[in-house]
Symmetry: C4
Subunit: 279 residues, 4 copies
């Protein structure tokens, strides 16, 4: 559904809506983010009963106003984009769509209205505006490290969830419904609360044996929290070093002894004193 | 108990049950994992009272069905394996056995039935199926790092447990049974809950002195959580660098003596002094 | 507002108040820190009801005494500093001002009196006194690493807050006011309590679906706590290596061109090709 | 108080009590550790009321038996050591003394009896026995890294405690005694509980403003937990690399091009192909 021949009007709208380099494009993004923030704030206040009773009518109209504005914006995005299908199924495209749906769905399921807070994700666009200030580079570094670490994190989480299930079942047998461990799914919930060191205390072991097992689970959780941290730290460190090496990599070689690991400012080989080839 | 002369039938069964490269072997593993997941899910639901009352009979039969299927599978594994003793005492062999025992033991101790969730550990087999997708390599890296770090982690946990015991006894003296610290083992449980930063709040200090000591324990726990993380991060980083070095050094060969373990910056073979092929 | 021509008296006061190398300057700083600690301790005790009833009058006078002393000290700082505007808007200048304001503001808003504990921040001056003992170097290393990591931390916190908002809204819809999730801001508070693994338990999910979502939030929080740790660890490691390299490279000099920035393994100057002095 | 001329008997006792290489020395250490563990276990059980009522008399005698045995052991240590003063004020010497005092002090203050659990610290001696198995090396690495990091950790903890004090005072003003924040010291206790992510929930903010400030404190605590972890991880990594470098450091230089960074198994320079000087 590519549109190779686009009208000049489409190009202009595209510049404003998708671009962030022209003056109008920047202004558009700033206004958009303000509207998103106001819209989400309105939903937050509407969920507080006293505000709902006093300003419910106003907040309801505000919500509809923003939803209609965002719907129009979405249409313009569809109209002006170079690749409509690509936009619809892109990360931001899906969020843009999900951000306007709850108000309409709320006709059928009233409580869906609060899902509008998903609009807050549109604010992540802010990183695109800040792109000029190197935030994207940092976000990319983080993203690359997380992508590199995904398999290790998966292996880790899978193993932890297996153990959480077993701890949960064990505690259900030991403590039982009379101590708040009503069933195994709830015991697994307790095990997650414990091993992640959240520790609500809404369910807690009462018998000495249960407290002993719980103690083991806690020390276990305490020791293994180190694993994802270590994984991500090591990946980030790796990314750092590769970036540094890329930046420093000059592929310069000594004419005489063929040593290659020279610094950027070197004119002579540090090993034999002969000249270094300039790139 | 090696079986050097095995029938062709045994070989075929072995391929299907233990292998994961043939079409039949893969299918077997997928079906097995589905059955394990269904079986564990059934136990989870059976532990919820309302489901137990309505579907208890059905879930009971389902459990027996799966237990019998897994018992047959275990027999076939014993029959077809090249080394029965080796299989029985291997990690997966023990889990396979433990996974079928609870149903039988439940004749004597009914609550043992729920231990069936240990079956979930059989799902760890999934890493073997995913082997083809490099998950094993990652798991191995994690495993090697943890093995390398085991002594440091042991020294660390041992020291922490010593301090936890002392904190526990101290709080028992300060707070005493009137504030919920009924005895030293329970106070040690409190100390574990606190130092691992779980913090249920089922037992918490009430006196100013007790709160002061508890504050010290928390800051202590907060500061030392860094230690295992640092250990594992450093070990992982170490593993990374060694792997990178190995990968980088293996694919260059000396023209004259064919040695292969050269560093990236080497122009001449470190063993015979002749030139190294550049990639 | 620079004062290039300062009286000798101003210079002397400056030496004592701002300096920490002369005997009088050191003494001044030690006395100051003692007074700050006593002053803050007095406020802490005044907030305890039994002490307030018995010693309230005395503690009130003590507070006024210290406030007047610190006000005089502030005037002397203004009088003797080389750059009054620079001092007023510096980090320590602002803290010095804020430290004396609460007592005066307490005329209007009595509870403001307790804000005097902000005086404790003046104790951070202690690092300046300890400067001679290399603490400043360490603090600088930490500071540099944090400054380097600020963009990554910002990207990370922004993303986490977005997800916290969505988790909060989701739990408000699922659990609702009847289970303690009275409105979305409070649900967001719950999400922060959960994802940071604090887990008070004052609000906790009661429905199975809510507990499932909460479990997801916890595992999510548990996995991503690794990210800031990894970021800061990697930055610190980076700082370490650069410092080591700097320290290692500065104390060798080229015989011919006197350049000093040579690497440890350099035998010849990389700038002129002559030999480098071995240490 | 050195004793250069010691009797043969003293030497023999020294070998058994302080040594861990002779058969008798090893046996002594194993028996000692068993007795310590039994002794501590007895105290733990004595603190449980039902055991105290039934076996109190027996456990009381057991405690006295062990205290007398340990007192005799302490005398022998004093008698046989080469340097009595050095032993008394050493880490283990102090623990050995503190381990026998509580039983005697319990004449005056009965509850002091439970302080006997400090005996558990004597078990740390186990690392000395395990010395032969490389545990000491690992413990030393950890210890060196912690010593290296002590200044950074101090700067960090000092800054955190300052902020905890301010958060505590702020919450006392906002929430006040009617919401459980009875005074500033208790509010500081709450701030510690919160920022270390322990989160008992015995004191928790009730007002929206309080919950907002608490949320800030949590996110702050969540972000800065990364700092000590990063510090220790980076220090450990540093120690690793230095140890590796020391192990690999051969100070071998190429005869012709003076390059020095050669691997252990290199016979020829990897840069110019000439021979490398053997150490």
């Amino acid at each position: 559904m590519d549109k190779p021949f686009r009208s000049k009007q489409q190009e202009q709208i595209y510049e404003v809506i998708f671009g962030y380099e022209s003056r109008a494009g920047k202004l558009f993004d700033v206004v958009l983010i303000c509207m998103i923030v106001i819209s989400v704030t309105a939903v937050l206040f509407d969920s507080i009963e006293s505000y709902h009773l006093n300003y419910g009518e106003f907040l309801f109209r505000l919500e509809w106003f923003f939803t209609i504005v965002f719907t129009i914006e979405y249409s313009f995005r569809l109209y002006s984009t170079r690749n409509a299908r690509g936009y619809i199924f892109s990360f931001y495209g899906l969020i843009d769509l999900i951000s306007i749906l709850p108000t309409y769905i709320a006709f059928l399921f009233p409580s869906a209205q609060y899902l509008i807070v998903i609009r807050i994700m549109r604010v992540l666009r802010i990183f695109r505006i800040l792109k000029l200030f190197r935030y994207m580079g940092e976000a990319n570094l983080l993203y690359t490290a997380l992508v590199q670490a995904r398999r290790k994190i998966f292996v880790f989480l899978f193993s932890v969830l297996t153990l959480i299930t077993i701890f949960g079942a064990l505690m259900f047998i030991i403590e039982g419904p009379e101590n708040g461990f009503n069933n195994i799914p709830q015991s697994i919930y307790w095990a997650i609360v414990t091993i992640t060191t959240v520790g609500y205390g809404d369910i807690s072991p009462q018998t000495p044996v249960g407290q002993f097992i719980a103690g083991l689970a806690m020390i276990f959780g305490y020791a293994i929290i180190a694993v994802p941290t270590g994984i991500i730290g090591a990946e980030l460190m790796n990314e750092f070093q590769q970036r540094n090496r890329r930046e420093a990599s000059t592929n310069r070689q000594c004419v005489s002894c063929h040593a290659t690991d020279h610094e950027l400012d070197a004119s002579y080989c540090k090993f034999c004193g002969n000249e270094v080839k300039q790139n």
